[in-house]
Symmetry: C2
Subunit: 406 residues, 2 copies
């Protein structure tokens, strides 16, 4: 990773980007409206939830993203504007129009996102007032406020920025995201925004985003539920003035490594901030017959409530791990399976040839006391591997979701 | 249901069946070994877990059930004999052999089941001694002891018996089952045994069992995990001396209604006794485009951790319900969806045309305070419907599974 250097900052680190985060009144007192603006219209790409039930802003964005260009993103938290019918769509449109009016840009160049409670009409007047004040306070230092304004049950801001070189030019990329319940493979109440001053073709931008989402957000799980609002958007305004990055070039590879790095790190932050999470779990499936088998097994293990509660209970219960692989649909011979559990405190083999192996229970306890746990399952059926990230299932998950409307 | 009459009793209610439940030493002090015996060899049918990782007794039974006949079932709890390699298979075989020896029957006529901790060698000596003492205490009154001996984290015995008429002859059917974690559509740590003195062909018996499992055990969910040991066995010894029941006859229909009634009731008991469950949830999807769409949507809703925690929290959060239907893979137009929540306290519509509808929050609270909650989702896309049963997700689920090795 020598070419990709992590720097201070976030979405306003790349040239030409401004942002703001304000309190509009949707939430009682916390910031709830974020605005991202690029002074030069950007190439844009986006990935949305695959849920049949899509929130109004997602439906609007799917229209607006067709031309692969955008100049602003407006986001409210506190209300998802989902299951809100035609009125919801009109409200999303109003948010775009107001943003365009304030920034003197085309309303079709505005992307809209919402996150929060489902099925409650959006308090549009608060939103519109919020857009006014956000537009007025746009600044190159507004990245942090914006990252704060998109939070719902998140307990910390998720921001990152990197720089790298393309043909002697310094290119920057910034990102911010929010979780934190309902997180699941295939994008789930998860908003993520990436900005870059790279000069990159629409095709290359789209390819890089989709590929990186597949190995980052689509591998994570908090509770296996998938939301109506998931959106991942990248804006590339070209102001770094590097030679245009096209697909299948050496430069594309560098750019891809950067976006993969940014998205993987944001995805991990989301998992670490999963509702009620006390531990971060990485599941690595190796030597699967096909890539799909590897992915099925990894996702099944990371999604298993019994694996999640075992890790919460600091219990090396490999039976639940092999069982979850067994019902995943992945093809393998259980008799060949080995399972390893590790953390910074060491590594133990807990299962060999699909069966019991003597291991040091004391060391297992030590290993499982850590906050970051790695589970490796060797299927010995082929050459493919897959990684999935998740968190444990705790009392607090039940508490948060049993008493709080998301 | 006038033809099917519920009677006192369980697996020893039908003619010619004896049972026993004893303490063998696998568990510290509770009963842990059950034996079911029919004096006349019975036609037999079975359904097993579809998990790739199958416990040793399941592998043995899959062999023994091929001839569709059996005379005894031996079951231990406290150890699943799963992920125990060749030794595990040999141990399962030893259990069959010992049972056959004690009962003076063919070892291939013995079916073996285990439930409990995975990946720990079976304490076979305890098992064999337990089989001896169970065989010695076999009795027509032993059904309750057997039902107790198969329990793991179950908090109550699950037994049922019915009688019905076939051609003027009284036929009886008894059943017992155990849950209670890891319960999931497609059979999951769930053992269920049905006995009947019906005279029924092997083909008819097999068909009735499979069909009834599909609409009972395969529709329930506690935590979405699926075990290595699930087994559902029925023995029919013909001692009621009714005219042989063949498929597609009027008599078959009566027999089928009985087995469906028994299996549905046992399945509901399993759900009600789900680990940590405080509420029983019934999800009914109506007017789906296809049967598969109905089933996908129902299962997805009943499996959703967010729906489960909302019900635990007595929150009419229909957004989570429509969202779970949305990611189920079922085909429907979200704009058409209506959702109703009801209990013995009343019924409310909480969603109309995929959106918010004004409802009485006070009444909603009253309805959701009850122990049995019904969620109905009308997809308005066709004529098919499906029902799924599950339970809520509570602090206790996390407690039980975070500190207890199953």
């Amino acid at each position: 990773m020598e070419e990709i250097e992590v720097i201070e900052g976030g979405i306003t680190s790349p040239k030409g980007f401004k942002a703001a985060g304000v309190h509009s009144g949707i939430k009682k007192c916390k910031k709830d409206l974020a605005l991202i603006y690029t002074e030069k219209k950007a190439n844009a790409a986006a990935v949305f939830t695959t849920n049949k039930v899509k929130a109004a802003p997602v439906l609007l964005d799917m229209e607006n993203i067709r031309k692969s260009e955008a100049q602003a993103i407006v986001v409210n938290s506190g209300n998802a504007n989902a299951c809100t019918g035609e009125k919801g769509y009109e409200d999303a449109l109003k948010m775009a129009e107001k943003t365009a009016e304030m920034l003197k840009i085309d309303k079709n160049d505005v992307l809209v996102c919402s996150t929060g409670v489902i099925g409650v009409p959006l308090p549009i007047d608060f939103c519109l007032k919020g857009i006014e004040s956000a537009a007025e306070s746009l600044s190159e230092k507004g990245g942090d406020d914006a990252a704060e304004a998109i939070m719902t049950t998140d307990t910390f801001k998720k921001v990152i920025a990197v720089k790298f070189n393309i043909d002697g030019k310094t290119v920057k990329m910034g990102g911010m995201a929010k979780g934190s319940g309902m997180i699941h493979p295939n994008m789930a109440t998860m908003l993520s925004f990436i900005t870059t001053d790279a000069n990159i073709s629409k095709e290359a931008l789209n390819k890089a985003l989709k590929k990186s989402v597949d190995v980052s957000y689509n591998t994570i799980s908090v509770d296996g539920d998938m939301s109506t609002n998931d959106t991942n958007i990248i804006l590339a305004n070209g102001m770094a003035e590097n030679k245009l990055i096209e697909v299948n070039s050496k430069e594309f590879e560098i750019f891809y490594r950067a976006i993969e790095y940014v998205n993987k790190n944001l995805a991990k932050m989301i998992v670490k901030d999963g509702e009620g999470a006390t531990k971060f779990i990485e599941v690595v499936v190796i030597n699967a017959k096909t890539e799909n088998d590897a992915r099925l097994a990894a996702k099944s293990i990371i999604n298993s409530n019994l694996v999640k509660t075992a890790i919460f209970g600091e219990d090396a219960n490999w039976g639940r791990i092999i069982t979850a692989a067994g019902y995943s649909g992945a093809d393998f011979d259980p008799q060949n399976v080995s399972i390893f559990i590790k953390s910074s405190k060491g590594e133990i083999k807990v299962c060999e040839n699909g069966g019991y192996v003597n291991f040091d229970e004391g060391l297992a306890k030590e290993i499982l006391k850590e906050k970051e746990i790695n589970i490796m399952i060797d299927l010995k059926s082929g050459e493919f591997s897959s990684t999935a990230w998740g968190c444990d299932l705790s009392y607090d998950y039940v508490k948060i979701n049993g008493s709080y409307r998301t």
